[in-house]
Structures are given as structure tokens and as C-alpha cells.
Subunit: 410 residues, 2 copies
């Protein structure tokens, strides 16, 4: 299919969305009652929202006022509640107020709005590789150069601050980190994040930190960036969060940015063009009767369940499949078929075994530096499924070793 008018170089350079590709493979699998499709592809909560939230959403939906616009940066009640929530999550000494918060139509949109505020076409942003594909696609679309900071299994997919420092040029506008990481699941230690903060602060560039999976770290606080006095957070940090995973409401599209009001003044321009306002209904539902803080036990119990599921996955995985890192929603696993690219492995796993997962090729590309064992890793979204399905997935992975007739890595 060709388009008779001219397309942008940005869109032509950008990879097609990976998730629909994985589901196109899955569509070729013929499920049976005994062997249903087992979907560990998209980072999608395998648990429903809390009953209290469903009730609040339903009640908000029936009010005509919910259908009206909110402010560009979102409704003040939820911005206040989220600021308070962050003060609790990030521990004593954290000071965050509603003016530091923008609400967005999802965390991807928060990233796009942030990049629009920081970088022009031709500028550079540093991403650890493997990266979250939508971050890299966004940079391609905007003509911003992706500078790859390779990570590897030997280091637990933790990026090196020293290597990152070497990549900074006059064109560098930001370093963008995701912790717990997507796709690797690696949880960046507090000291590492502090070092990245010092690097960004000292070089006057922004540190974008996407903490979509923050609530699935059992230790708290996840880091000390919000309380560090040597690197005041508003001077360098653009903090991104998603309500999709913690509150199990991805379809309602709600995310947030925490940054200095001075930066948000500029981001407000992007957000006005991108969203006009964030969707109203989740804002109202989460702030009516101060529901947001009341959902903390819901979050903690899901986090504990997912942590247990990570353990189960590690214990049930056939011994030839090696976990490189694990955390948040994801486990990053090396498949045992030496010499076969994980794209091919994932396609056969989906089409023949009914196990949907994402190959590391979706989180990197050949134009940039890659780890030495790139092409052998697969992302499994452990949070998508229940314990029973974890066991079934592992059984089918074991089956694949004989069925695929590929030699196993010795």
C-alpha cells in the first residue's frame, strides 16, 4: 500500500508498534480449552481495578459534569492527592506540591510532552539499551537522535554512569531512565540513581525518570532523589508516573509528570496541544472521598502477589532458560536456542506454542550499540497472568525445546 502524498522522514524511520506484531503472531495460534493462549506480551495488569474504584468510576460517569473539560494540567484535587501520595512513597523529607504535578492522558503522552519541552530535531537523548520501544520511537518521530547506552546481563542490565558521562555532547538534552526497567525488569539501585542525578545536575541536562512500575518494588522508598539536598530535584528531574499499573486502569489513560513549576509552564504548551486536558473520569473517581490514598493496600497486595509470581516463574522455568534480570512487571530471559534470534523464537512460541512474549529485537535496533548477547533475550510480562498460567507457560517452554528441533546452547 503506498501513500500518494509525502510522508515525514520521522515516521518513515520509526519502527511499527511491536505489540500488534506480537498479537499478529498470536492470532495464528489455534487455542483449545486444554491449551489456551497464554499472553505475557503487553505490560497489562492481570488483575481488575479495586471494587471501590470501579464504583467511583461508575458514579463519576453518570454525572454530566464529568463530561466537561478539566484544566490543561488536570484537576487540582487529584494533583494535590498525588503530591501527598508521592510524599509518602518517597519518604520523610519529601516535599512535593500540586504545582509540581501535571496529569496526562497516559505516561507515554507524558514522555512525548517532556521531550517536546527539551529537545528539537537534531538534538540527542541518551537511553539505556535495551530501551522501552515507545521512548525510542518517540525520539525517531521527533527527529531527536537516540544515543544508546548499552547494558548487559553480566551487569544485571544496570547502566553505567561513567559510560553515560562519555556520551554527553553539547547536543545532549536529557538522559531517560526507566526503573524498574522496561523491558529488563532491572531495578536501579538508589545509589545509581543518585549518581545519574549528580551527572545530570552537574551538566545542566534533564534526567527523565519513568517510574511506571515503582509501586511493584517492595522496598521503600525506591530512591532518595526527592530528598537529596546536594541535587535539588526540581533543578534536573522530570519524573513520570502511570496510573495504569498501580491502579489497574490502563484503558482510562492517566499518567503524570512531576517537575518544577517553571518547567511545567513550558510543558503545559505541549499538553494543551496533545491532550487539551487529561481524561476527566479517572481524575474525578480517584479524588472523590480521597480515594487515592485508600487504594494503597490494593497496590501493596498486588505488588506482593507479583513478587511471589516472579519467584514462581524463576522456580518453574526450565533450567536451560536463564533469567538475566527481574522486577516490576517483567522478567528478561535468555532462550536456550543458540544462534537463533529471539524474534524467530518468539514468533514460533506464539504461533505454535500459544505463548506470547516480546523479543529483545523490539527493544533495540542494529543501528546502535548492543550487548554482546543481544538477540537471545525475551521479555515476559509476569504481571499479566495468574500463578496457574505461569506454570503452564513454563511447561510449554520446556516442550518447545524438543518441538523446535533447534540445538540448545551447551
Amino acid at each position: 500500500m503506498s501513500v500518494p502524498f509525502k510522508l515525514s522522514r520521522g515516521v518513515l524511520k520509526t519502527f511499527p508498534p511491536p505489540i500488534p506484531q506480537a498479537y499478529a503472531w498470536a492470532a495464528k495460534y489455534v487455542p483449545t480449552i486444554e491449551r489456551p493462549l497464554l499472553d505475557m506480551a503487553q505490560g497489562s495488569p492481570g488483575y481488575p481495578p479495586s471494587k471501590d474504584l470501579l464504583d467511583a468510576l461508575s458514579s463519576a460517569a453518570s454525572q454530566p459534569s464529568t463530561a466537561r473539560y478539566s484544566d490543561v494540567l488536570g484537576d487540582m484535587p487529584l494533583r494535590r492527592l498525588l503530591a501527598k501520595e508521592m510524599e509518602i512513597v518517597y519518604g520523610e523529607g519529601t516535599r512535593i506540591v500540586a504545582d509540581d504535578i501535571a496529569l496526562t492522558a497516559g505516561c507515554n503522552l507524558a514522555f512525548v510532552a517532556t521531550v517536546m519541552g527539551l529537545a528539537d530535531a537534531g538534538d540527542e537523548i541518551i537511553l539505556p539499551t535495551p530501551w522501552y520501544f515507545n521512548h525510542q520511537m518517540t525520539l525517531d518521530l521527533l527527529g531527536v537522535e537516540t544515543v544508546s547506552l548499552p547494558t548487559n546481563a553480566a551487569e544485571g542490565f544496570i547502566p553505567s554512569v561513567e559510560e553515560c558521562a562519555k556520551l554527553i555532547t553539547p547536543k545532549t538534552k536529557a538522559i531517560a531512565l526507566v526503573s524498574p526497567n522496561n523491558p529488563t525488569g532491572a531495578v536501579y539501585p538508589s545509589a545509581l540513581l543518585a549518581s545519574f542525578a549528580e551527572l545530570a545536575h552537574s551538566r545542566n541536562i534533564a534526567l527523565i525518570l519513568d517510574e511506571t512500575y515503582r509501586d511493584f518494588i517492595l522496598d521503600s522508598p525506591p530512591h532518595g532523589l526527592f530528598t537529596a539536598s546536594s541535587t535539588p530535584w526540581r533543578d534536573y528531574l522530570v519524573h513520570l508516573f502511570s496510573f495504569s499499573k498501580s491502579y489497574a486502569i490502563p484503558g482510562f489513560r492517566l499518567g503524570s509528570i512531576a517537575a518544577s513549576p517553571a518547567f511545567l509552564k513550558h510543558v503545559e504548551k505541549s499538553l494543551d496541544c496533545l491532550q487539551v486536558c487529561p481524561p476527566r473520569i479517572p481524575q474525578i473517581a480517584l479524588s472523590t472521598h480521597d480515594l487515592l490514598p485508600a487504594l494503597r493496600p490494593f497496590i501493596r497486595s498486588n505488588a506482593a502477589a507479583i513478587a511471589a509470581r516472579h519467584d514462581l516463574f524463576r522456580q518453574s522455568l526450565p533450567s536451560s532458560w536463564i533469567i538475566g534480570s527481574q522486577g516490576g512487571y517483567y522478567a528478561f530471559v535468555r532462550h536456550p536456542f543458540g544462534g537463533v534470534k529471539s524474534n524467530v523464537v518468539c514468533q514460533r512460541l506464539a504461533e505454535e506454542m500459544g505463548v506470547v512474549s516480546l523479543p529483545d529485537g523490539f527493544f533495540s535496533n542494529s543501528q546502535v550499540g548492543e550487548a554482546v548477547d543481544a538477540g537471545t533475550w525475551i521479555r515476559f510480562s509476569v504481571a499479566n497472568v495468574d500463578d496457574d498460567k505461569i506454570a503452564r507457560v513454563c511447561e510449554r517452554l520446556k516442550e518447545s525445546e524438543t518441538r523446535f528441533r533447534w540445538p540448545l546452547t551447551p
Copy 2:
């Protein structure tokens, strides 16, 4: 407030969102029971959604499945219903299918995704002036040059195809039209749109047509672009629509793009980064029990009420205030204070008279060609208010003539 890290040239060049500015003026007005604030600023439906839709939204909200992601381009049932709806709106011979449709988190986001698919930084897009401010802000943010096609009151703010043709260069990627227009209300005649279609088609550039206010034209079909055989629409047209006005649900953020599947394949990349998926709840509510087509009478009765309100506004307006054009949600009115910029007039109207409206300065800038009488026009959103408030606004405009102590245009 300064930002310690570097900002993009794009965001620094972009104007702050106009609506919050107007509401900042309004916040200085002290309303009383006798003299409430009269808001004709944002294009916001003054009527609630239909009871059937509110019920469907509430019912959808209580289902856990509503909280899940949909496809990047939206759920198939609503894409199918919208395609069918467009076949009815655009009349006999129209053929639009679900694969021609993408659903988006609002019509602004549809515009951003479209521009990302067409233009890189340094490219040009032609916008009639006065323009819809978010269109121009989006181009600034992306580093795309706005090429202004001035319109004026003498021509009823209708753009000239001949003048437009002269502006096309090798860097031109699209012409973007809004009809009924925002801010002028001008309804572009069918023959004019056909000429723009021929121009875009013959020059292999895209014609972006934003028909957010389409359902408020009483004559139908609004144009023949979808049935013209000499200019097959999929070869040049990117059609944008918003559910915000027709269905009175701006807070639910739903819009759409109709274009060739070949172009949507590329736009899907932008949409994956921008929205992941459009908000799920309005998609489900509008497609359950085929609700969308059942809301046609709701739309028609609101359209008739707004048309009557336009008449009332025209009849009630003091004779010194001149309507330049009128249609859809808006009336574009020349204020009577010769020599005073409408920005100043609108500020005083909001702060002192409690009448909130938007000056033409918000829809143009001094760097581009302007009509000879630019600076004297004000946009009133007639759809925001009821008949009683229309009368009160007109009374206060009359009062302002003596109160402001500015000489009137002879």
C-alpha cells in the same frame, strides 16, 4: 521562574495556551447573583450528554474489562459504527470502512499524530489565518513552519484557493482547514472544499480537514469530498473529527482520523507513542447496543438549538458590534472600539464586565500575514451558553460602550 536545564527551541517559540489566560482574566471578576460570570471563551458544549449515553458510560465504567487497553487505533465496533455514520452524514455514494478509521484521545491528538506522519522540522504547512491556535502551536512545537493564508471579513473569512496555490513550495506537506471554522465560524462552501481537494490532489500534498463542528451545519451533506470521483479521497484527505461537541463529552477525550489504511499504517506509529490506545470507556459506551447512530436525534436537536442561538445573538448584539462570520460553535465579532486591540478589550470585558471571550490575537501572530483589520475581532462561543445568557452578554457589551470610555468607531 527559570529552568536550570536546556529547553527546546520549539517550546520556547510556542505561545502559552490561550484558554487559561482568558480564565485568568475571568478570575479577577467578582460575580454576584445578579451578575454571574458569562463564559463564552472555550468551545465547550453548554448542554449535557444524552441520558442514554450517561447510562451507557456508567454501565461501562463498572465493568473491569473497560479498564483494559484497546487496540492502538481503537476498538473495532466503534470504528465500524463511525464509518457507517460517516456514510450517512456524507450522503449517497460514500464508502468508508473501519480500516479507514483511527480513534484518538481527542481531535487535537489526531492533529499532532497526523502532522508527525507528514512533516519534519523545517517543512511547511499552510493554515488559513486566523487559525485554530492549537494547530499553530503544534507546528511551532514540532519545528514545522506555519505558512499563513490570510482571510478577511470582506470575504467572510473564506480562504482563497488561488492564494493558497501561490504559497505551495517543495517543502509544503499539507494544507490544514477547519470547517465550520475555529475561530471565525465560517462554513466553507462545498465548491471551495472541492477546489482545495483538487489543489492538494494535483500537488501530491495532504489536505487535513478538521470537521469538529460538522454536525452543527444544518444543511447536509456538508461537502462532496467523500464521493468525488476525480479526486478519490484516500489519495489526499486526512479527515479529523471530534466526539467532544457532537456528543457533549469533551472530558472523555475521543476523536478520530479518517484516511487511507496506507497512511493510517504510519499514523499508528505516532498513535502508539502518543496514546497507546484511545480512552476505552467512551468507545465502549458509544458502541454498546449500537448507541452511536441512536444519538443522531440528540445531535440534530442541539444543532437546531445552537443555530437558533446564533440568530438570537445576531439580533441581540448592539448595532456597533459587527458579526464577520458565524457558524458551528462560534461567532466572530468586530468590537466597536477603533484603535484598541481586542486583547485589551477582551481583558476588560472579562475582568470588569464578567464576559469571557477570546481576542483574535490568540488566533494569529505578528510574524505572519494578517487581515487589514486584525486586532479588532473577538470570538464568542455561542454554544456554551443558553438563550438567557446570550441576552445578558449583549446587554453587557452595550454597557461596555459607555463604561470603557473609549471612542467608538464612527
